[in-house]
């Protein structure tokens, strides 16, 4: 194998946590790795959340071009319905596919938006919101799942996602659940490493990539036990073990990173990156409640229960807006708490109600101005620190599916979509939430040593991966190879080459033309059954 590149994703990693942990000796390998290479802050995209950010990292394109804006997507520009975002929605070629079509082999483990798995030359285990019951379908090639199942310690229930379990990361959990929850992620990262090690030994690939996503989850729930600014000088008997276990997670992660480096050729390039950074969220902005109080939104049932818990964002309420809202009287709404996006109901786009196209600009400007007036009861300062229109944030062929407005809150937090009596409520304890500033670290042939670079874009990672494998960079990639990361003589010998725009990958879905045959009786029976489901009137 002439070239080998290892890409390690660390979901949500931020130097504000990693630096103190390296200084305290919790992550000695990472400290040594950075000394042997380069580091930089890696600026995420808008919004800095997992699905669009990892998709930007995998494609080198912005969300308006790759088409992924959130965990869920609108069914169509005219629809109020949202659906699970899948690999079918990724509108640009990924590095897995590009490397694969150049005749190299690829292993891609636990990256989101890779379900169903692309049929590349190599191995894929889909990540993201793939439940354990469907993990077999998330594996490529088809026999991979059975091979993994035979590995000692394989446990699909822990390896894949459990939605109810994962919700705890953002919505919180009971004090007695913290330890089990952190230990779950310690075991989970070990399993992903075991799979990586098996595949690196059995099927060495030019590009091997693994996403560790426990950092994001631990930081969401345990931020106050990690951020030095929030550490209690005199931790309670309950707090100390949680802090210790959180550190144990990072200590183990550091060891796994060291073990991956040991499995790698000495002349390989190793790149580590996160999809976004992290910080504290101290308040909750109930955006749909604010829209309601200002006459932009109406609940279908005015007596619907109000949220009294200031920590709840509504992760379990996803997609329920479709029947919780009164569409005759709603002009703007936030369907998910994950993207901080507001959609404007526009007349003529699937409904006669809503804002007329002629009034759209005025209405949107009024909404922006009103949102800027919302203030925190705690600080008296504006709650919304920045508002992007979709033309500003999502320019590209898929912009029509994006939220009309995307909010950044003063504390970097996520909005709540639930009904509440108060628009803004302080949280009893700060929780972790996303920030745009993620991490980039790299070492390998030609990479400078001990250098801290100015910030890079998350879209620069894909070109760097391709360049490390000797491949030209597709002309339509928005990111570029961070040339400052390399020694000038090496870069002269291995210059960055551009090529034609990336192409859609080879069709991977079955192309069978399916023609359905049914009789009149079958049609009548069908209609009756679908009516019973509420699907047709």
């Amino acid at each position: 194998m002439e070239n080998q590149t290892i890409l390690i994703g660390i979901d949500g990693a931020t130097f504000s946590i990693l630096d103190p942990l390296m200084d305290e000796g919790v992550m000695p390998f990472l400290r040594q790795f950075i000394a042997s290479g380069v580091r930089a802050e890696l600026l995420s995209i808008v919004p800095p959340i997992t699905p669009p950010a990892w998709t930007s990292l995998m494609t080198g394109r912005s969300p308006g071009h790759h088409g992924v804006f959130d965990f869920f997507l609108k069914e169509s520009p005219d629809s109020h319905n949202i659906r699970f975002a899948s690999s079918h929605d990724v509108g640009c070629e990924t590095i897995w596919s590009i490397v694969s079509r150049h005749g190299m082999r690829v292993t891609s483990l636990n990256f989101p938006l890779m379900f169903p798995p692309p049929r590349i030359n190599g191995n894929v285990v889909s990540g993201g919101w793939v439940p354990w019951r469907q993990l077999r379908l998330g594996c490529h090639p088809p026999d991979l799942y059975d091979r993994l199942k035979a590995l000692p310690g394989f446990n699909a229930r822990e390896l894949a996602m459990d939605a109810a379990h994962e919700e705890k990361a953002v919505e919180g959990c009971q004090p007695e659940e913290y330890e089990d929850w952190i230990e779950h992620h310690i075991r989970r990262e070990q399993q992903w490493f075991d799979i990586l090690r098996y595949l690196m030994r059995e099927d060495p690939c030019e590009l091997t990539a693994l996403l560790f996503d426990g950092v994001d989850k631990i930081q969401h729930l345990c931020w106050r036990f990690l951020d030095p600014a929030y550490l209690n000088e005199r931790p309670s008997p309950w707090e100390q073990p949680i802090r210790d276990l959180s550190l144990q997670y990072f200590r183990q992660l550091d060891q796994l990173l060291a073990d991956i480096a040991d499995l790698t050729n000495p002349d390989a390039t190793i790149i580590m990156a996160s999809d976004h950074g992290f910080g504290a969220q101290s308040e909750t902005f109930f955006v749909n409640t604010w829209l309601e109080q200002n006459g932009y939104l109406a609940w279908a049932n005015e007596a619907s229960p109000r949220q009294t818990d200031s920590t709840k964002l509504g992760m379990s309420q996803l997609a329920r807006h479709v029947y919780l809202l009164d569409w005759e009287r709603t002009m703007a709404y936030a369907p998910t708490p994950s993207s901080n996006g507001i959609h404007i109901v526009t007349a003529g786009r699937g409904s006669e109600k809503g804002v007329s196209p002629a009034d759209y600009g005025r209405f949107r400007a009024e909404l922006i101005e009103s949102l800027r007036q919302v203030t925190s009861p705690t600080t008296g300062e504006p709650v919304v620190s920045h508002i992007w229109t979709r033309e500003e944030a999502f320019e590209g062929p898929h912009m029509e599916l994006a939220p009309d407005l995307t909010l950044a809150l003063w504390d970097g937090g996520l909005v709540s979509i639930l009904a509440s009596d108060d628009v803004v409520k302080p949280r009893p304890e700060p929780s972790g939430t996303h920030r745009p500033e993620g991490v980039f670290m790299a070492a390998g042939p030609g990479v400078r040593q001990g250098v801290s670079l100015p910030h890079l874009s998350i879209m620069d990672v894909a070109p760097m991966v391709l360049h490390s494998l000797g491949l030209a960079i597709p002309g339509d990639m928005e990111g570029c190879v961070p040339t400052g990361a390399f020694e000038p003589p090496w870069l002269q010998a291995c210059p960055v080459r551009a090529t034609a725009p990336a192409k859609p990958s080879e069709p991977t879905a079955p192309q069978a033309t399916v023609e359905i045959v049914y009789t009149e009786e079958e049609e009548a029976e069908l209609a009756a059954r679908l009516r019973a489901l509420g699907y047709i009137e």
């Binding site: 169903p116 019951r133 069709p507 049914y518």
Partner: protein, 107 residues
């Protein structure tokens, strides 16, 4: 290739039976089997299975409309037979899924 309702049922049952071993579900999966009550699936399982069905047929199917309608009408469960009805109803009318990754073909 023409697909009858029986063939769609066979396809979907085959997919579920393939996965049932992993679920350690020992009951027989039949048209009247309820996805939530009998098999123990959760909402996200059903959503992901919908994506797999689309992958299998290379078709975009309006599952989001089905799930929204179920929620709106308080329908708590769906049987294999009803699931197949929905797939069968829409297979002939929906968009071809021309590529899985690289085209944004699901829209």
């Amino acid at each position: 290739m023409k697909k009858t309702r029986e063939e769609v049922m066979a396809d979907v049952l085959d997919l579920f039976r393939q996965l049932a071993d992993d679920w350690e579900y020992s009951g027989e999966i039949m048209p009247k089997t309820l996805l939530f009550t009998d098999i123990g699936l959760r909402s996200l399982d059903v959503v992901v299975l919908a994506v797999s069905i689309q992958e299998h047929y290379g078709r975009v199917l309006p599952f989001a409309d089905l799930f929204a309608a179920m929620g709106q009408h308080g329908v708590q469960d769906i049987s294999m037979g009803e699931w197949v009805d929905f797939v069968y109803e829409h297979l002939n009318e929906t968009l071809v899924l021309s590529a899985v990754e690289g085209s944004g073909a699901a829209r």
